[in-house]
Amino acid sequence: MSTVQEVLTAALLLAGVFFSFVAAIGIVRLPDLYLRMHAASKTTTLGLAGILLAVLVYFGTYEVVTKVVIVLLFLFLTAPVGAHMIGRSAYVCGVNMYPKTTRYDLERVTIVC
């Protein structure tokens, strides 16, 4: 366990935790659903990515590397889809937006429910 490896794991780990922490604050503080959704998907992508890379660096064995790569691929694929699905169903169910929203792109688009 060379010190470089240790420092790198610590750095990555702290970055990951930082993102999760900020996202959590975002979820609580942000006014309406759609904004919170942005924050939520950050934990799944950046937060977990940081921690996973830390794990990768920390163990470094052949097996762990393959697993981490697959998981990262899986995460980066599913997180946006999850967020998309929730956004879609929220909009369809008529969850109203934050009154002071400036841009409203979906005015003209009607989604077939």
């Binding site: 899986f74 694929l77 889809v81 998309h84 699905m85 879609r88 429910c113």
Partner: protein, 137 residues
């Protein structure tokens, strides 16, 4: 009715998930996993298809009705138990044969693994039977 993005992702994920479930099943003897967990992961994969598409496509994807899985699983489990009788040992005694792997290691396949496969199918069959029928509208 469901969104296109979800469908494409679901179709893409199916192979990965089934691979994961078999991976969990086969290594169950030495590392966390086993028939039960494998079965559940595979069921989750099928359910993902059901959520993405609809029950009919999920059922078609199975290419056989979940009904087949139950007797298959129980049969396998029973056979693996009865097989021990062939060698004159009491019911359920396990026998092993080690398969040399290309990578040099040796994989111990044996009756318990067959039993585990039986458990895998029964679990899969049960969950699917219940969820697919519930989903049927």
């Amino acid at each position: 009715m469901s969104s296109l993005i979800l469908r494409t992702v679901a179709r893409l994920l199916l192979p990965i998930l089934v691979l994961l479930s078999l991976f969990l099943l086969l290594r169950g003897h030495n590392l966390p996993g086993g028939g039960f967990v494998g079965g559940l992961v595979c069921a989750a994969a099928i359910i993902l298809q059901m959520v993405a598409y609809d029950t009919a496509t999920a059922r078609r994807m199975l290419r056989g009705s979940p009904w087949l899985l139950l007797p298959l699983g129980l049969g396998l489990a029973l056979l693996s138990g009865l097989a021990a009788l062939l060698w004159g040992q009491p019911f359920m005694t396990s026998r092993f044969v080690s398969v040399p792997l290309p990578g040099g290691g040796a994989l111990d396949l044996g009756l318990p693994t067959v039993f585990d496969l039986g458990v895998y199918f029964v679990v899969l069959g049960t969950v699917l039977l219940v969820v697919l029928n519930l989903g049927e509208e």
